[in-house]
Structure formats: structure tokens, C-alpha cells
């Protein structure tokens, strides 16, 4: 562990967040308007619903070098499209197994419900996720993989 720490003192992880327009993206806007800062490593893609997240998006992100993928949607019952979030939850369970088969730690993929009014929660989860990924160190699978 200490080895990794000394090896890469200023390790900046690469993280993408795939979030739904109605809840988590709105929460991110709220975090913005409330000036709640969080690590700059979070790069967000706005989708209409977590239910539209295809497994291949996640896999593509990891293969392109992401150290972490965060997925944010509405709390169960609050989905703008009724239950897209629940469909996403089921699908992402499967995606975890899939990325594990590729050699990525499933902990690098996180699904979290963040409601539209939860600006501080957004900040909290972003910070925590970045901390988690930093602690895990850079994803080395891609480098080892022969593509």
C-alpha cells in the first residue's frame, strides 16, 4: 500500500459519472448553485434516465481508461420515467460481474440514488467516490490488456 502511495504522489484518477437529467444532474446543479465544491476529477455525462445506460457505455469507459464509473439516478419511486432507475439497478448488478470478468474491481463501479433536492448529498457522494478510487489506486487492467 505504502508503495503505491510513494510511487504516485499526485495521482489524479479519471472518473466519469453517468447521471440522469431529472434527479442527479439537478442535484449537481444545486450543488453548483450552492457552491458546494467537490474534486474536479468528476466528469459528468447527462442522460435522460439511468435506465438508458447501456452496459457497453460502462465497459467502454473502463476500457478507455476510467478508474471509476459513477452512476446517479432518482430514488426508487421518484424516477421521471416511473421505474427506469430500477431497471438500471438490475442491469448494473450484471455489469459488475461483467467488468469483473474483464479484470476490473467491481468496487470501481458505483450506483447511487441522489434526488433533485440533494445538493449536499451529491457533494458528499462525489467526494467519497473520488476518495475511494484514489485509495484503490489507478486501474491497471487496461495497460495489462492486449487490445
Amino acid at each position: 500500500m505504502s508503495e503505491t502511495e510513494t510511487q504516485i504522489p499526485s495521482y489524479k484518477p479519471r472518473i466519469v459519472a453517468l447521471v440522469c437529467n431529472w434527479c442527479t444532474y439537478t442535484a449537481a446543479d444545486l450543488a453548483g448553485t450552492s457552491r458546494l465544491s467537490y474534486p474536479a476529477e468528476i466528469r459528468m455525462v447527462r442522460l435522460m434516465c439511468t435506465g438508458m445506460i447501456d452496459q457497453k457505455y460502462i465497459l467502454k469507459a473502463f476500457l478507455d481508461g476510467a478508474d471509476g464509473v459513477f452512476i446517479g439516478g432518482c430514488h426508487p419511486g421518484d424516477c421521471h420515467y416511473l421505474d427506469g432507475n430500477l431497471k438500471a439497478e438490475r442491469r448494473i448488478g450484471g455489469t459488475r460481474n461483467l467488468i469483473e470478468q474483464f479484470g476490473f474491481y467491481p468496487e470501481r463501479l458505483k450506483l447511487q440514488w441522489i434526488g433533485a433536492s440533494e445538493g449536499p448529498e451529491f457533494q458528499h457522494h462525489m467526494t467519497e467516490f473520488v476518495e475511494r478510487i484514489v485509495a484503490m489506486g489507478p486501474s491497471q487492467v487496461r495497460d495489462r490488456m492486449i487490445l
Binding site: 450543488a31 474536479a40 466528469r43 421518484d78 427506469g84 433533485a116
Partner: protein, 662 residues
């Protein structure tokens, strides 16, 4: 298949505009550097930075560049697309370009405002803008469609909010359906005697309005009814209303009231009088009820609920209006827009043990007090204690259940004002000494502070301190039987133990029960406290994220009558504005199934929550019903053949963006 499927013809020529947003983006994000950075990306023809992109000169800059440089794609790096996407799409439209050739990078909410370090913010902005540039190259022109709309409006909830929305809409010539779940319309305001700050009589305003609603030719009233099902979409909702059995035939009843007089079941707690009086099993909630047709409370009726032979009401009813065999009826109405006006429920203070509500008879809630004070209430408006005596000293306790993290953390906004209304009325009617215990007096409204001053001058004793306890423990034996209110006067720093005869708890507001289910039916989300979410706190306070559904009154958050009425008229205005053209534009971001790729596996059909995908048995492929599709993308994620995809969210577009972010 449709014109939306045109292959892209031209080579992308992209213009990028980085906004300073005054001081909001620029000092944190180095906007020149960002613009410089993206110039190097493929297809970028021009990249500029400017102080306010959303201003007219900013938009003109885009229009000119499109015309002069022949741009066919535009990226604006500024605020959230939730704020200004429409603005810039319109600019493209103005320049003759399809508005979907546009992408926004949110470098304000996601970079400048939330990143501490300026270098990091700039780097993040570069990534976000680059991603937008990559994405926009894959954009396709999309067309929207015009759909005919139903020129009618459904209002849910018949309090002052719903009544006003119904009247305004009806006056504009629209057919209105007003659904109220209680036997009568009127809501909370019908329970009041006087209203602040003018102290005008509530009944004098309410009663004529209720009659207007009832008699208006354009308003169809469903009382004792609830929403059962909502289908369809903006402009074309189909709503099923469940009419609960009244056991009284509305068409026959003359409202003579004989049945109520004769009904032997007389000891049922009156909901309208907040439990302070009794009613019969067949009843109207209050004498001025609209419609003035009683209902039978089946649970308590001897015939219906207890299986006994009574039928007294039927025997006395000369119009033979009583019908014990009535069943629930369902009626489906077509409506273009919906206004939700389901109001609030008063907080139940029973859960605050130290206020002794329910334990000490002389501790009242504010709504109980409204009835006590009302000329049509249980005491005919005489302010007396349960034993008939006139109180000598009364305490009013502010913020009960509000501003309290254990209960409701928000301020309920009306209780300061109605508390002072009570203080004035008690003082005027009984001459009793009134003590008001408050944390802060919140009186921000026209003539509200003046009302506070007036009540102060009447000699009401204001104590700045939240009440710590209400007890019947006394220090002085001669106060036995009275209540003692314990509070710190935070201005003198003394703990007061004031013996009083009556205590009124100024309870706050909470969302009306059933709001959760209704929200689900309507597709309207609620905030952490349970109030319905408006589309935008400042710019769209009556619209909801569900197009075609609007909010009025307290269902959106605590407010007083003037604000409720203003919002109701606003909601009616929005609904009218939406429907007046006769048609609405549908969204372009809907699912599209590529016939050549579809294998007919039906996975998409199984996941679509809107039943928007049908199956073409001849060609054995899935087909999207564009009128029903909401664009959620569940089908595209489920489709293993990459046949289904939502327009504007194609794999190429999303993955292109992803690639540039990493």
C-alpha cells in the same frame, strides 16, 4: 422511414463559445485558454469567449457566425442546459439551423462553482467542452411534431386554490373538471371565520365562490371523488375519476336536510369541526356545503355498516333520493392539462409529548381554535373553555412542529400571522390577557408588519422564546386546574412559568395525505418534505417537470391565501396558454428502432413502462408509437442488437462524449 432519419449530409463545421458569465465562470476558469484549447479539435472552425453568451449580443454572435462562417454545429460552454439550452437552440433556429445541432458544456455548475483550484477548474472545463465538441459532430437534425390538444382542464382539489384555478379557466372558455375527495368543496378556508391581515370574513368570500363554481356552465364538479388512473400525455390526458358512493342520488336530493335531522346515529366525531362536535351518519360537512347533498358515512350507518334495519333517512326522504345500493362509479374524461391543488394537512401535535396535546383538554390546535371561533362552529363562535367558562388568560405557542428537525424542518409561513389574528380575536371577544410565545415573528407581506404592530398595541404580551413545556403542575395551589406554560423569555433571560386557562398550538403545515400516490399517478415528483416539485423555483414556480401538469396552492409548499390565489391564477394562465393554440409540439428525443437491425426479440417491448412499443407481426419487428414514447431509453439499453436508440442519445453521441472525458 421518417424525415428524422436523414443521413447527415455535411461535414461538421463547429463553432465553440465560452461564456464568462460575468464573474461566475471567468475568474475561476481561464476561458481564453479553454477557447484556445478547443480550436485544435477536429472540425472546430471558430472558438470565442464572451462575457454573457445568453445576452442578445451573445446570441447574435452565434447567429452571425452561422451565417458568415457557414457553421453547422454549435457548442456553448456556460451554465446548466437546464437553464439556457432553449435560449441557444432558439438562436440556432433563428439562424436557420436545426436546433439539435447544438450541445452545451456546463462549465459553471460543474466547474467554476464547485472546484476550488483554478487550474483544475480550467482543465475540467477543457475536458467538458472537448466532449461536447466531439458529441455535437455526431448530432443529427431532429424534427418535432404538432399534436392536437384537448381544450379542457382537470383540477384536483377543491380548496381555495382549486376553486380559483377552475373559475379562471372556466371564464376563459375552457371545459373544467374539478375533482374533490371530500363531500364538499371549500378546503381549509371554509373552516375559518376571519382571515389576516384584513380580518375580512372568510365565509363572505368563500360562499359566493363556492356557488360560482357549482353553477358555472363550464365547470363539471366531481365531489366525493378521487383520481383513479392517468394515461396519455400533454394535451391528451385521459383521466379516470372514481366517484365514491354517496348513497344519496344527487339528481333527486333537494337538500332539505330532513334525513340528517332524523338519523338516529348522532354521535360521530365531526371532521369539519375538528372533533369539537358530533354529526350524524348521513351528513353534510357544514351547512353551506357545495353541493348541498348529504353523504352517508357507510362505516357508521346502522343499515350500511352495522347490518341493522334502520332506513330512517330513506323513510323520511320525500324525494326518494336515498339509495343504499349505490356502487363506486368510474368516469373517464379527456383533458389537455391538469392543475394539482391538493393543499395541506395541519401538523398533528400529539407527537410532541411536552405540549400535552390530547392530555390536557384546554390545549387546542389552531384549526380547532378556528372552529371554536367560528360563528357556525360548535360554540357558535363563543370563545369558551370546555367547562363553559371564559378564559382569563390564553397562551399561543408558535412553531409547533415547524422549524423543528425532529418534525418539519421548514417554516410553515402562515402560523405567525394567524397566531396574531387569534391574539386579536381573543382580545376583542373576551378581553382575556393573551401571551404569544414565538421564536421570530415572520410577517413579510403587504400590510403584515402593520398587523403585527396593531396587535402589539392592543397589549398582547409577546415573549421571545419557544415554549419548553405545557403542564398542569402548578407552584401556587390557587392555580390548580389551570395550565402552566414554561418558556425562557430569551430577551430577559428568565424562565417564565405562566398559569393560563387555554393554550393554542400554532401547528404547521404538511403535505396532504395521499399526495404521494397522486404524484405517482401524475408523474410529478415531491421534495424531501413531500411537497410537489415545481419545475424551477424562480422561473417556473407553477409548472412541473411533467409537461402539462401545473401546481396551485399549498400542495407546492406552505403559503397563505393571497399567495395561493395568485399561484392558482398563474397555474390557470399557464394551462390556458398551453392549450389556447389548439396544438402542442412533442419532444424530438424519442426512441427510434432501426428496422434493419431489429431481430424481433421483443426485449424492448417488455421494458417499456409506457407501452409505447408495438410489434409488427408481418415484418416481425418492433415499432415505436411516437405519441406515447417518453424517451426514457429503457428500450435502447435493453436492445442487444443496437436497433433501438433514443434520438439525440445515440451510442455514437454518448460514447463520443465519454471518450473525450477520459
Amino acid at each position: 422511414m421518417t424525415s428524422q432519419n436523414q443521413p447527415k449530409t455535411s461535414i461538421p463545421k463547429i463553432g465553440v463559445y465560452v461564456c464568462h458569465c460575468g464573474m461566475n465562470i471567468a475568474p475561476k476558469v481561464n476561458v481564453e485558454e479553454v477557447a484556445e484549447h478547443v480550436k485544435a479539435l477536429p472540425h472546430v472552425v471558430v472558438a470565442r469567449d464572451y462575457k454573457f453568451m445568453c445576452s442578445n449580443p451573445g446570441q447574435d454572435m452565434i447567429v452571425n457566425d452561422i451565417k458568415e462562417l457557414g457553421l453547422n454545429r454549435v457548442v456553448v460552454a456556460s451554465c446548466s442546459p437546464r437553464m439556457h439550452e432553449k435560449t441557444f437552440r432558439n438562436a440556432l433556429r433563428k439562424a436557420g439551423l436545426n436546433p439539435y445541432y447544438f450541445q452545451m458544456a456546463n462549465v459553471r455548475e460543474q466547474a467554476s462553482w464547485v472546484t476550488k483550484d483554478s487550474v483544475e477548474a480550467t482543465e475540467k472545463a477543457k475536458a467538458l467542452v472537448s466532449a461536447a465538441v466531439t458529441r455535437v459532430a455526431f448530432h443529427q437534425p431532429l424534427l418535432t411534431r404538432e399534436v392536437k390538444v384537448e381544450k379542457s382542464i382537470l383540477v384536483v382539489g377543491g380548496g381555495i386554490a382549486g376553486m380559483q384555478a377552475a373559475l379562471t379557466s372556466a371564464q376563459a372558455g375552457y371545459q373544467v373538471y374539478l375533482v374533490e375527495r371530500e363531500p364538499s368543496i371549500g378546503g381549509h378556508m371554509a373552516k375559518f371565520d376571519k382571515t389576516f391581515p384584513t380580518l375580512d370574513c372568510a365565509a363572505c368570500i368563500m360562499t359566493p365562490k363556492m356557488v360560482d363554481v357549482y353553477q358555472h356552465p363550464n365547470i363539471h364538479l366531481f365531489t366525493y371523488s378521487e383520481i383513479e388512473k392517468v394515461e396519455g400525455f400533454i394535451g391528451n390526458f385521459e383521466v379516470t375519476v372514481k366517484m365514491k358512493p354517496r348513497y344519496v342520488d344527487m339528481t333527486k336530493c333537494t337538500g332539505c336536510g330532513l334525513c340528517m335531522e332524523k338519523c338516529p346515529t348522532k354521535k360521530i366525531t365531526s371532521e369539519f369541526n375538528e372533533g369539537l362536535s358530533k354529526r350524524t351518519a348521513i351528513y353534510t360537512p357544514f351547512p353551506q356545503a357545495v353541493p348541498n347533498v348529504p353523504v352517508i358515512d357507510a362505516e357508521n350507518c346502522l343499515t350500511l355498516g352495522k347490518g341493522k334495519k334502520c332506513g330512517v333517512c330513506a323513510k323520511f326522504c320525500e324525494s326518494t333520493a336515498i339509495d343504499f345500493d349505490q356502487q363506486p362509479e368510474f368516469k373517464t374524461v379527456k383533458t389537455g392539462a391538469v392543475i394539482v391543488a391538493t393543499g395541506f394537512k395541519a401538523f398533528d401535535p400529539g407527537s410532541i409529548g411536552y405540549y400535552g396535546y390530547g392530555r390536557y383538554p384546554e390545549v387546542y390546535t389552531s384549526l380547532e381554535f378556528e372552529r371554536l371561533n367560528n360563528a357556525t362552529g360548535p360554540t357558535a363562535g363563543k370563545l369558551v373553555m370546555k367547562d363553559g367558562r371564559t378564559p382569563q388568560r390564553v397562551a399561543i405557542v408558535h412553531c409547533v412542529g415547524s422549524r423543528d428537525q425532529r418534525h418539519k424542518k421548514y417554516c410553515s409561513r402562515v402560523c405567525c400571522m394567524y397566531s396574531m389574528k387569534f391574539a386579536h380575536l381573543i382580545h376583542e371577544k373576551t378581553g382575556a390577557e393573551v401571551w404569544e410565545f414565538y421564536i421570530d415573528i415572520r410577517s413579510p407581506g403587504k400590510n403584515y408588519e402593520e398587523f403585527y404592530n396593531r396587535v402589539q398595541e392592543e397589549g398582547v404580551k409577546f415573549v421571545r422564546g419557544r415554549v419548553a413545556e405545557i403542564t398542569d403542575m402548578t407552584d401556587d395551589p390557587k392555580d390548580r386546574g389551570r395550565l402552566t406554560v414554561v418558556a425562557e423569555n430569551s430577551l430577559t433571560r428568565r424562565t417564565l412559568r405562566i398559569p393560563v386557562d387555554m393554550v393554542i398550538l400554532s401547528v404547521g403545515m404538511e403535505p396532504s395525505p395521499g399526495a404521494e400516490d397522486l404524484g405517482r399517478l401524475m408523474g410529478v415528483s415531491r421534495d424531501a418534505d413531500g411537497w410537489f416539485n415545481e419545475l424551477h423555483a424562480k422561473l417556473a414556480p407553477v409548472a412541473t417537470p411533467m409537461t402539462g401538469v401545473f401546481l396551485a396552492g399549498c400542495c407546492q409548499g406552505p403559503k397563505d391565501i393571497p399567495d395561493t390565489v395568485a399561484q392558482s391564477m398563474g397555474a390557470a394562465g399557464e394551462a390556458i396558454a398551453l392549450l389556447s393554440k389548439g396544438s402542442v409540439t412533442t419532444q424530438a428525443e424519442i426512441s427510434n428502432i432501426d428496422e434493419d437491425l431489429c431481430t424481433g426479440c421483443k426485449s424492448c417491448i417488455a421494458v417499456c413502462s409506457y407501452s409505447a412499443i408495438g410489434f409488427d407481426e408481418v415484418r416481425r419487428i418492433a415499432v415505436v408509437n411516437e405519441a406515447l414514447c417518453m424517451g426514457c431509453g429503457s428500450c435502447s439499453a435493453a436492445c442487444l442488437s443496437s436497433a433501438a436508440s433514443v434520438r439525440h442519445f445515440s451510442d455514437k453521441q454518448v460514447m463520443g462524449e465519454l471518450e473525450m472525458l477520459l
